[in-house]
Structures are given as C-alpha cells and as structure tokens.
C-alpha cells in the first residue's frame, strides 16, 4: 500500500526528514514514533499527499479519495456544527447514504447530542472526536492519523482503541504517536524516527 525509499524533506536549509524507508502492505498497521521535531508529521503529510518529498521515492497505492487523514488541527470549521461539517465533507467525498453514515459516527464517538452545536463551543477532546469522525467518514482504505490520542479522555481513547481493533487487518493504518505502548500490540510495522 505504501512503499518509500530514502524519503526526505527540506524546508529551505532545514532538514525535516531524512532517509526514511517504509514498507506498509495493505491491511498493515504502522506505528511511527520519535521525539518532537523528528519529522513524524512531515512523513504523514507526505504519505497523505499534502507535501512533496525533497528526496527519495514514494508510492502510495490508493487514490486521494481513499485516504483518511487526521492532522494536529481538526480540519473542521469552528463556526459550523459537527453535523454541518460532516455533511460538507460527506458531499465532497461522495459518501453513499451520507446522513446515515454521519449519524453512525457521531453516535459512536459520543457527539450525537451535540451535533447541532457549533464546533467553537466544543472542548479540545470533543473536537478531536469530531476530527476522527471526519477522517473515518468515507470509510477510507488508508488511514493516516497524526497523534490520534491527543486531547482524548479515557472514554475517547477507549473508543479509538475499539475503532482500531475493528479496522485492523481490514484497512491500512499509519499512526504517529508519543504513546506507542497503547497500540504496540496492533503494530505490524514500526518506524522510529531520530531527532
């Protein structure tokens, strides 16, 4: 699904990523770890197609429509409600039976009762749950998640654990995290980036 050789990225004179090799087959679960500034987010952005590598080769075996990406930022509009945000993305991603799918995800991540509230009134944890709903909305074949446990409370983290357990083996998953122990048992590929 993802094959990378000698992947690197420079921002001007600054080297953000260097010499990363990655072989993630379909159905695999890759965990990316490393200290702050080691290039985890850059690697994930490159794999998602949001940035171009400065060096190396990368092949991602799915089209843009089949990538679900969770970033540090939730990528949702604060002045829209959860429902409006997911409706918008559902339209753009051509999600079949969109309203049903949106409802299922909001229910699963505990946001159904707040679905009509503006995102600006959400806590950081609720916004992260919404961001997960957005990333999963179109049932992507490749899930790229940057620090998915950030800001989640214990209940939210358990919901995400359950989601990973459900998707493992069926979807290809690439996750960066500072808490590798939590998903260590799911990992089929481990990438440790150095600072």
């Amino acid at each position: 699904m993802i094959a990378a050789r000698g992947l690197g990225k420079r921002f001007g004179a600054k080297r953000a990523l260097h010499g990363v090799d990655l072989e993630l087959p379909a159905g695999g679960f890759a965990v990316v770890t490393g200290p702050n500034g080691s290039g985890k987010t850059t690697l994930l952005r490159i794999c998602a197609g949001l940035a171009l590598p400065s060096e190396g080769e990368l092949v991602v075996g799915v089209q843009r429509a089949q990538v679900g990406y969770l970033a540090h930022d939730p990528l949702v509009y604060r002045e829209l409600s959860a429902l409006e945000n997911l409706e918008l993305y559902g339209r753009l991603y051509r999600v079949p039976e969109r309203r049903e799918r949106v409802g299922i995800l909001l229910e699963r991540f505990g946001l159904w009762d707040e679905r009509a509230d503006r995102v600006s009134s959400y806590s950081r944890g609720m916004t992260q749950r919404l961001a997960l709903c957005r990333a999963l909305l179109h049932d992507p074949a490749l899930l790229i998640l940057d620090e998915p446990y950030a800001a989640l409370d214990a209940q939210g983290a358990e919901l995400l654990d359950a989601q990973f357990a459900e998707l493992r083996g069926e979807r290809t998953i690439l996750v960066s995290t500072h808490e590798p122990a939590r998903i260590e048992s799911l990992a089929t590929v481990r990438i440790a980036l150095a600072a």
């Binding site: 998602a48 171009l52 409006e84």
Partner: protein
Amino acid sequence: MSYLADVRALTRKDLLLELRARDTLPAMLLFVVATFVVFHFALPAGSSRLAASGLLWVAIVFTALLGLGRAFVPEREQHVFDGLVLAPCDRSAIWLAKSLATLAFLVAAELVALPVFALFFNGLRASTVAGVALADLGICTVGTLVGAMAVVTRARDLLLPLLFLPLAIPIVIGGVGASVAGDPGRYLGFLGLYDALFALLCWAAFEYVVTE
C-alpha cells in the same frame, strides 16, 4: 453535475460562515460608505464628474481587497485547507465557490455603496453600473486565486495587494472608461474579455496553486 453540487456545497458553507461570524460584509460596507463620505468632503466644490468616477473605482478596488483578504481566513485559522485539498472533488470547485461567495459579498456591499455614491456625487450612469458588474467578476476570479496563493505565506497581508493590484489595473482602466467615455461599449467589451480570459486561467491554475 457533481462538480456543480460541490461548488454549491462549498459556496453555501462560505455564506453560512459569513452569516454566523459577520467578519467580512460589515467591514466592507463600513469601509466603502466611509470612503464616499470622506471623498464627499475632500473633493473641492465643483469638481468634475470625471474625478468622482475615478474615486468610485478606487473605493471599489480597495473594498474588494478587504473582502479578498478575509476570503480564506476560516481555512487558514483552522487549517481546513488541507481537508478541502484532500477531498476527491475537482480543486477548481474550491476556487469557483470562494469566488462566488466573495462576489456575493462585494455585490451586497455595492448595493448599498452605489446609491450612496449617486447621492453624494450627482447620479450614476447605466454604463457605470454595467462596468461595476463586469469588474466584480474579474476582481473576484483573479483576487480569489491570488488570495489562495497569499494565504499560505507569512507575509499574506502584504502579498495580496502586491499581487492583486497590478492585475486589477486593466479592470480599473476598463471600469473608468465605461464610466466616463462617450462610447462605453468597447470598455465594457474589454472588461468582458478580461473576465473570460482570467476566469479560464484561474480555473486552470488553481490546482497548481494549492499543490505544493
């Protein structure tokens, strides 16, 4: 059909955001009306209609610049641009929707501003109104593309006018010509040609602007 549905959904989103946040339109309205008030008192008594026409176009261009500067603020503040770019829709739909929303704000501001101008500066020719309508199209198509380029840079507030104003000079020439010339037809034609040409260029170029 799905392209138009994407444009509709994205335009609706922009109008809804403005309806809730009220960030852009009130600022544009206040600016354009205040400009006319200042011009009204700044122009010497007995100034020509030609001078007033020039001032109208100065006010329109800078009011549009105010709106364009805010066009991508929601996407920038919440980094939503990444989410939109990743969606499988044609990326030019993002540009078209944003242009339409900006056009709606500019036209709404002008619906108030033009009567105020007519009141302060002794009327308004039909050819001026036609020129403004055509100029609006060019301003929004070009300005939205430039706004998307500027929004990802740190010097966006400087870059937007620097890139936009040179591209807006033909619009000002066409607009002023349509306002003051005895035969405004050729200036209106020029504005129409500018609109068509730059709409096509911007539509084709947007994909490359949002791709690293």
